[in-house]
Symmetry: C2
Subunit: 161 residues, 2 copies
C-alpha cells in the first residue's frame, strides 16, 4: 500500500469518526452512526457485511443490528450481484431524502399539542401567558406551513423523487 493510499484511509477513518458522532447526536447508537458514516464515504459506495465489520472493528451482531435499524428507517438498502451471495449495503439516497422531509414535516406536531393546552387554559385568568403561548403556536404553524411549501416547491423542481 502506497503512502498516499494509507493517508487516504486515515482521512476516511477520521471522517467516519467525525460524522459518526454527528449521527450519534441525532439519535443513533454509536455503531449505527458509524455504519451510516462509513457507507457515505466509502468507495465504491456499497460494501458487504464483512467489509463494514472489518473497517469498524465491531462485532457481527453490532453491524447486523445497525444495518437493520438503518434499513428500517429507509436510510440504507442493498444491492446484489448475480453469482454473489453477499448483500452490498449502501445509502438509500431517496429514502434518506424522504426521511429528511418527514422529519421536517413533524415541526408542526408540537403546535397541535399546544393548541390542546391553550384550550385547557382558556378559562384561566392569566391572559398574558396565553397570549405568549398563542405566539409560539402561531410561529410553529407559520413555520410548518412555510416548510411544507418549501418541500412542495422542491418536489416540483425535482420530480424524480
Amino acid at each position: 500500500m502506497t503512502m498516499a493510499e494509507e493517508e487516504k484511509i486515515e482521512r476516511i477513518r477520521q471522517k467516519v469518526e467525525q460524522m459518526g458522532v454527528f449521527f450519534e447526536r441525532s439519535g443513533f447508537a454509536p455503531v449505527t452512526g458509524r455504519v451510516f458514516a462509513y457507507l457515505l464515504v466509502c468507495d465504491p459506495p456499497h460494501k458487504d457485511f464483512f467489509a463494514i465489520q472489518e473497517f469498524l472493528k465491531a462485532s457481527k451482531s453490532a453491524i447486523s443490528n445497525a444495518l437493520a435499524v438503518l434499513t428500517n428507517e429507509g436510510l440504507v438498502d442493498y444491492i446484489t450481484f448475480s453469482g454473489d451471495r453477499r448483500r452490498y449495503f449502501r445509502i438509500n439516497t431517496n429514502g434518506w431524502l424522504s426521511s429528511l422531509k418527514n422529519k421536517l414535516r413533524r415541526v408542526g406536531v408540537l403546535g397541535d399539542l399546544l393548541n390542546d393546552v391553550l384550550n385547557e387554559r382558556c378559562e384561566s385568568d392569566c391572559p398574558a401567558f396565553n397570549h405568549e403561548l398563542k405566539k409560539i403556536i402561531f410561529f410553529q404553524s407559520y413555520l410548518s406551513k412555510g416548510i411544507e411549501q418549501l418541500i412542495v416547491e422542491w418536489e416540483e423542481k425535482h420530480p424524480a423523487t
Copy 2:
C-alpha cells in the same frame, strides 16, 4: 374540592403525562419533560419549587436538576415576589422561541459535513452516487436558506423578540 375541580386536575395530570412523553422523545429526561409540561399547563403559569415537586411526586434533586437543565437551555426562568424567598419558575416564552429558531437553523449543519464528504469523494469513480449526494446537499442548503428566510420574515413581522 368540587367535582369539577377534581376533574380539571385529572385532565391536567393527563396532559402533563402526554406532553411529558413528547418532550422526553425530543431529548429530555422524563422528569425534565414533565416539569416543562407542568409549567405549560399550570395555572397560574408560575409555580414554586415545592408545588412542582408536589404535583410530580418526585424528589427534590430530580426537580432541581430538571429546572437547572431547563433554565440552562433558556426554556424556563423564574420570577420572585418581594417578601417571599421562593423562586416561582415559569416557561420563558422568548427563550423557548429562540431555542426553536436555533434548532431550525441547525438544519444546514449536515450539509456542511456532506460537502466535506463530497470533496473527499471527488476522485472517486462513482459519479452516480456523488450526484445523489449533491442532490441531498442541495436540498439541505435550499431548505436551510428557506427556513432562515422564513425566520427573518417572521422577525420582521414580530419585532418584539
